[in-house]
Amino acid sequence: MTFAFDLLLAVALLWSGWRTLTTPRLDRAIVLFIAFGLLMALAWARLSAPDIGLAEAAIGAGLTGALLLDAYGVLQRRRARP
């Protein structure tokens, strides 16, 4: 059961990482990046490093995600206003 979960987690990590890099749409890439960060936090927790997991979830997924979304918003507004 745990092996199945770990396998699923590893596949999901690789898949979301690959999709983040290859998707042509910026907004989708950012959302995928946040999902990747949360999966990464889970992976750290499974590797019995909950400290890193907490930091990854809070800083890697949360704050970085918010900053990226903000930057995307600014880019969109710049594009709309020639």
């Binding site: 997991g53 907490l54 930091a55 809070a58 704050l63 918010a66 900053l67 600014v74 507004r77």
Partner: protein, 217 residues
Amino acid sequence: MKRMVVIAVAAVFAMVLGGAMLDLPLGAIDLRIPVAANLGESGVSHPVTAVLLNYRGYDTLLEIAVLLLALLAILAVLGETRAATPRAAHPVLQTLVRLATPLMIVVAVYLLWAGAFRPGGAFQAGAVLAAAAVLLHLVGLSPGWNTPRLKLRMGLAAGFAVFLAVAAALLPQGALLRYPPEAAGALILLIESALTLSLALILAGLFLLLSRDEEAP
């Protein structure tokens, strides 16, 4: 052609990396035993916090210095500007954030306190506090930050300043950041509290200082 070369180079690099990983002698430096042996003198009972704040306190001191430097660089580039006026979000979102903010503050204090004996600590607590500030701004409940005045500047520098003051006060002992075992717990808690406050302000500042009106120069 170019793509093939890139793929080939990447594959070779991956193989070299894998080979280097396999070449590593297993447990050449096993620090778990000395860490566990000296845990009693470190002032905390969680090994990760002991390493971060006691055995390798120097690294953490430099980390907070780097974060402060990053924020100072942003301030230097921004110059004197005015913050954006927030746009109120949907009332449901606002209510949700109003409910979540006190919880997030409690979680941050808990994480700070729990760092002494289980996973947690200043960085996680600071990040949760910063996230609360960012959420409040995003739903329009709190404005972005203007160029920081004295109070905010003191808050931003507090973590680094307190850490540096403790390090300087302990210098006569002969080594940087070697806490006396009986005072280690209290000193670590003091440093972590200041670090939490500063980290929260710095991380929130990365977001809130950059939130400007588009029309503003």
